[in-house]
Subunit: 320 residues, 2 copies
């Protein structure tokens, strides 16, 4: 008999969220543990496994689970390892898929969080029925999951799809990766905050944002100011969207996707970011691509999206 | 019985070259007609078909031919049409695959010339055994054929892989496509000539190239001067390679290929272009990709490469 459930696990720097999901994308039950509370990976895995066992028993035990999918920063699908993730407590290469499957006795597949989001959109979200699309995650950083011919692009080593680290401004802003001008230095939530500080420093006009400590401004502050009609804040979103749209025009020259789907915290800004992205994308596209590529918002309910995305990988997992 | 031959056709602005190829990539016999001599597409197809019938008879007739592959500028694999090719005599959308197969009675598949080169490298050349690689063609323009998971990336509309039109210098050189700063304005044969004119105008130092009419300088002239030790000419290649390498670093963030393979006229410059490309590529790569991606020259004998590449598509053609 076909197994009715998969499990999705989303590992973030602060929390690890997981849930049992059915074939229609409904989360049956869920839980979470604090990622940051475990300095030792063995302790983390033990705690996660025991929480998982509990929710697995609630749906009739491991024989009802097709597989576990994990989305994690720097997760490598080919090796099942988390490799040198700067925002997680554990150093080096962590063979998480193996460690987890040995305790839980269910096959585990692992990929990075943006790839999980792409699989989630294809299985349950805005990309249902599409074979060629790109998911761009706009959070603390900028991530990407690329699907070509209905398959996720992993590349020869499992590390494909680092579009947040393509160079959009030669000799531009210094990036955490050590290089300059990466897309994520401009178009992530932290990029928006950085743009705010730059604009406030180089411009003289009034802005609600001037009431805040420059170093403490967040993308949420910029959003709040923008919807109150603050000009500077609105222009920060226009600048962010402009750069994102320019990048998208190049990404489209690569894989000519049917759609680019925006996912993650910054998409809450809605039209403020969406409209300038669309305009800059169309303005910069090669003629053969113009007015052909859909720009979409993720259709996954935000609180569930990460778990759903990871669980979608669980359906594809190879059984032991 | 398995059919022993495929036919490759390479349609260029000046000549159309074709040949019968066996499974080991040997060209059994070949021929050519002048593309530019036919203003009417019907006349061209008739002439091409009758030349093909001749070489087909020489190998025992159509029952020995698995398929015909065509590489053509602006060729669309999905539709079998050549669409708005600026350098061919025929306007609009030309359903060449259909026209040709109706006369010759052999199934025909068509794609653009860079995609044909990529299939050729995978079947007979430097990419044998690879599942993830990118072929960059350096000719009058810059083209690309991208392979992911062992499959050519066509995108949702058949137009993927226009890497020559990714933006490498924002507000840079005006491109034939109407946009600014495209890779091909710098790193094609015409880009090299353009760089030469720029360097000669903005610099004062002596150069063999100053003996030529600026408007008539070709990439071949720059090559000839460079191998005679001309500093300016050598720096033109360094500049060209630098820009190409910077682009490659971004392409790698997309599909993390095992190799990037250089193909086409400009590769005759050998180390002059190869060394600066490799250096700039490594200098600009995100850390996880460093020292992992092979930079290779095409292994296809140049005079045969286009026909072999197209013929490789002929093996994959669906029979009617």
């Amino acid at each position: 008999m076909e197994k009715p459930y998969a499990i999705g696990i989303d590992i973030g720097g602060t929390n690890t969220v997981f849930g049992v999901v059915d074939k229609r994308g409904h989360i049956i039950n869920q839980g979470s543990i604090k990622t940051g509370a475990y300095k030792e990976i063995n302790d983390y895995v033990k705690s996660l496994a025991s929480a998982l066992k509990e929710i697995i028993e609630q749906v009739g035990g491991p024989s009802n689970i097709k597989g576990i999918g994990v989305g994690a920063p720097n997760g490598n699908f080919f090796t099942g390892c988390i490799e040198f993730a700067p925002n997680l407590p554990w150093k080096g290469v962590i063979p998480l898929a193996k460690m987890l499957s040995e305790i839980v006795n269910v096959p585990v597949a692992l990929t990075n969080d943006a790839n999980a989001a792409a699989i989630g959109e294809m299985t349950y979200g805005a990309a249902r029925g599409m074979k060629d699309f790109i998911v761009i995650t706009l959070g603390t950083g900028v991530g990407s999951g690329i699907v070509v011919n209905g398959q996720l692009v992993y590349g020869h080593d499992g590390f494909a799809g680092e579009l947040g680290h393509t160079t959009i401004r030669r000799e531009g802003r210094l990036c955490g990766c050590g290089r300059k001008g990466c897309l994520e230095t401009y178009s992530s939530a932290t990029g928006v905050a950085r743009t705010a500080r730059e604009f406030l420093e180089t411009r003289k006009d009034a802005s609600l944002l001037r009431e805040l400590e420059a170093e403490e401004i967040t993308s949420k502050d910029v959003y709040d100011a923008a919807i109150q009609g603050d000009k500077v804040a609105q222009e920060i979103f226009e600048f962010t969207g402009q750069i994102l749209g320019e990048s998208f025009a190049d990404f489209i020259s690569f894989s000519s996707p049917e759609a680019i789907i925006l996912f993650g915290g910054l998409t809450k800004s809605g039209k403020l970011i969406f409209d300038p992205v669309r305009k800059a994308m169309e303005d910069n596209l090669l003629k053969i691509y113009k007015n052909k590529v859909k720009l979409l918002m993720s259709e996954l309910k935000e609180s569930d999206a990460a778990v759903l995305g990871a669980s979608a990988l669980g359906w594809e997992v190879k059984e032991n």
